[in-house]
């Protein structure tokens, strides 16, 4: 069972990463990136590494999501003003 779950998560992650890079809309990329983080959190949990999963959830996805979104908002605000 665990093998199937891991394979499907990997396929999801690869698809997500292609979308993140190929996407033209930056905000979509950020949301997809947070999805990517969530996928890796599940993987870490399956690999019996709860500490890493917690850290990735809180730091890798939470804080970096906030930072990326705020950066995007700044850039958008300027572009709209222009």
């Amino acid at each position: 069972m665990i093998g199937l779950i891991i394979i499907s998560i990997f396929i999801t992650l690869i698809t997500l990463s292609i979308f993140i890079i190929a996407n033209r809309e930056l905000s979509h990329s950020v949301i997809l990136f947070m999805g990517f983080g969530l996928g890796s959190v599940i993987l870490f949990f399956l690999f019996s590494a709860p500490d890493v999963a917690l850290t990735e959830a809180v730091i890798g996805t939470g804080v970096s999501g906030v930072v990326l979104l705020v950066t995007l908002l700044q850039i958008r605000g300027r572009e709209l003003k222009k």
């Binding site: 069972m1 665990i2 093998g3 199937l4 891991i6 394979i7 990997f10 992650l13 690869i14 990463s17 292609i18 993140i20 890079i21 930056l26 990329s29 950020v30 990136f33 990517f36 983080g37 890796s40 993987l43 870490f44 399956l46 690999f47 019996s48 590494a49 709860p50 500490d51 890493v52 850290t55 990735e56 730091i59 890798g60 804080v63 970096s64 930072v67 990326l68 950066t71 995007l72 700044q74 850039i75 300027r78 222009k82």
Partner: protein, 128 residues
């Protein structure tokens, strides 16, 4: 058929191939995309793939987390190696520190020039 999916060597193969595909996607994205924001996103993906690879390679089916609980009351060889987890914990924090510093540079650069494309960054170079 399904049983062979749960074997450790097979899982390691999946993890290696998958995370190196992710690494390839991330690095190629970082070096072929022109948008600064996208470049740093791609680099984050590449780093995340390494985290998955390293943790995954030390996982074996049936091993438990190296934490004592009600069910597990003794440290034994049936536990996952704790050192990679500690290393990745450190590296995740470093990655976010670098990412936020990079993004602050991007914001400041954008405020000065209104430019986000790396191929239009022509401030540096031989002066004419």
């Amino acid at each position: 058929m399904l049983d062979s999916f749960n074997q450790t060597p097979f899982l390691h193969g999946v993890i290696t191939i998958g995370s190196f595909l992710l690494l390839t996607i991330g690095l190629i994205g970082a070096l072929s995309k022109k948008n600064l924001f996208k470049i740093f996103l791609s680099l984050s993906i590449a780093e995340a793939s390494l985290f998955i690879y390293f943790i995954g390679m030390h996982f074996e089916v049936g091993k438990v987390a190296p934490i004592l609980s009600k069910e597990v009351d003794k440290f034994s060889s049936n536990m996952v190696d704790p050192v990679p987890q500690a290393m990745i914990l450190t590296t995740i924090v470093i990655a976010i520190a670098v990412l936020s510093l990079a993004l602050s540079f991007v914001i400041n650069y954008f405020k000065l020039t209104n430019n986000l494309r790396i191929d239009e960054m022509d401030e540096l170079g031989e002066s004419r």
